[in-house]
Amino acid sequence: MSVAAGSTTIARPGFAAAVAAERIKLTGIRSPWWCAGAAVAVTAGLGAIVSVATRYEGGPLTVATTQLVHSAGMAVVMVMAALAITTEHSTGTIRTTYLAVPRRGVALGAKAVVVAAVAAAVGLAGAFGSWGLSAALVPDVDLALHGAVEWRQVAGVGAVNLLAAVIALAVGILVRHTAGAVALVLVWGLVAEQLIGLLPGVGPALTPWLPFQAGKYFVTADGTATGLLGSPWAALGYLTAVAAGLLAVAVAVARRRDA
């Protein structure tokens, strides 16, 4: 057929084309912009409030304090990530997506890249916003980024947001329904892990293996801290493995399922 003959000269649209398409999709509607704006505002605003309150209550105010409530912005980012796929299912757009990019690993991988990039950018903006606002509002405390530890405590929010978004996307791929996916992700990220940590006896032993607790540890650990997973970087590695594993499972399931 003439198309087949003609197309041999045209490069096969690969992963980059799918990423570009997903970028147009995500930025072409308003709700992700609202989510991103809200996440930045919440992270920066709440973070600054916590810093100011800590200062006036006389507690120790450090760079890590400015990021104590980064999970608030992370929650918004996770909602955005879950919605990125569940709205495709509710509107039927997922079928259009799979018609355009029938290799589902490519289609969903491209979505993960775009969602993760937005989540990381939002995390960085919120974290540096919180840190900058705190430093401006509490000028008498030294909040300068002196070294690798302080840089990790602020910039690390970008990495944790990125991985949280991948987890939320994977949950969205698996659950498909908006309400279910959002509830699951928020309850897991914000409530369930805290409650598990409070269980008498097993709680403290389990905590390092809870992905979002590992993320929190990565952001807030100071230079001397040694968690059960060792360094904060090991905790980040663990969170990365969980996110990648969950995404791989979700893609494998999506490939076998009816769209």
């Binding site: 096969r12 398409a21 147009i24 072409g28 509107t91």
Partner: protein, 317 residues
């Protein structure tokens, strides 16, 4: 070309598509005809790799859809006009599609123009009427200038003007040498659009033949005759050799005779008529008849009247 071989799909206890085989050739419109729930949409989803077959395979351009190197340049499909994000503009929808397959960005404006949506290109797709959504779906299908096109019930819910537009459009695509599969549950619609028919019932192939052959065989026409002196009218018609019987609701049904002749017989006998109308058997009736025979044949039972078995043979040819 589209090739479907032994395609089967079960949903739990429902056998939606049952060992279906047919081919769709380029250069003509192939109508995919079957009553509601007969498995047309399911077959199309299977051909497009959206659902997985329980058995059998479907090939487009010789390969399964999921293995196409250039999906949108090879196949264009409109299965459901609402598979668009309601908050995205028509243009943004086409832009991401074009980008995903490395189609030239200029194609977006070209197809918008082709389907007459240029003026509303920057409006939210969610605010589109069904007719506009259908046009957007067709624009999306045409984006990659594909040789193979699938449309699932493209005229459903459209106003007469929209129906005529879609019909012409689809015929135009086939006239350009493309391979076009259009589904419908309406025989009259397919009779106007399709050159060739693939007819299914309960997920199984009933016939693949030219439209003319199938229409002749499937939809027997009859003439409804009514008048004040019905008994005399019936007698006069029988004397003239017209096959006539009670219609079941107090009038007469004549088969196999042109209306003009019936009118002349009545006039010659000096009988007034209050009704003389042509009735074309509906697809549903034809299906009841044809699928009923399918079952009888497979069960080894006796065939029906000579009229019906002739219809079936023609349809199968």
């Amino acid at each position: 070309m589209i090739e479907v071989r032994g395609l089967t799909r079960r949903y739990g206890a429902t056998l939606a598509v049952d060992d279906l085989s047919f081919t769709v050739e380029p250069g003509r419109v192939t109508g995919f005809l079957g009553p509601n729930g007969s498995g047309k949409s399911t077959t199309m989803r299977l051909v497009l790799g959206l659902d997985r077959p329980s058995a059998g395979l479907a090939l487009v351009d010789g390969v399964p859809y999921r293995e196409l190197a250039h999906p949108l340049r090879t196949v264009g499909a409109l299965l459901d006009a609402r598979w668009v994000h309601p908050n995205r503009t028509a243009r943004a929808h086409l832009r991401w599609l074009a980008r995903s397959n490395r189609l030239p960005p200029g194609r977006v404006d070209e197809v918008l123009d082709q389907v007459g949506l240029t003026a509303v290109a920057d409006r939210r797709a969610g605010a589109f009427s069904l007719g506009m959504a259908q046009r957007l779906g067709i624009a999306a299908a045409l984006l990659g200038d594909p040789e193979i096109l699938l449309f699932d019930e493209p005229v459903n819910g459209l106003d007469p003007e929209g129906i005529v537009w879609v019909r012409r459009f689809v015929r135009g695509l086939a006239a350009q040498g493309r391979c076009v599969l259009v589904s419908s549950h309406l025989l009259p619609e397919m009779a106007l659009t399709a050159d060739e028919l693939v007819v299914i019932g309960r997920g199984r192939l009933i016939a693949q033949s030219t439209t003319a052959e199938f229409v002749d065989s499937a939809s027997r026409t009859s003439v409804r005759v009514d008048g004040p002196r019905l008994d005399e009218l019936a007698a006069a018609l029988r004397r003239a050799g017209v096959e006539v019987g009670p219609s079941g609701d107090g009038a007469l049904t004549a088969t196999g005779t042109p209306m003009a002749r019936i009118g002349r017989v009545a006039a010659d006998a000096g009988l007034a008529l209050s009704e003389l109308s042509l009735h074309r058997g509906s697809l549903e009736e034809a299906f009841m008849r044809i699928t009923g025979h399918e079952v009888e044949y497979t069960a080894g039972g006796p065939a029906g009247g000579p009229d019906d078995s002739a219809a079936l043979t023609a349809a199968k040819g």
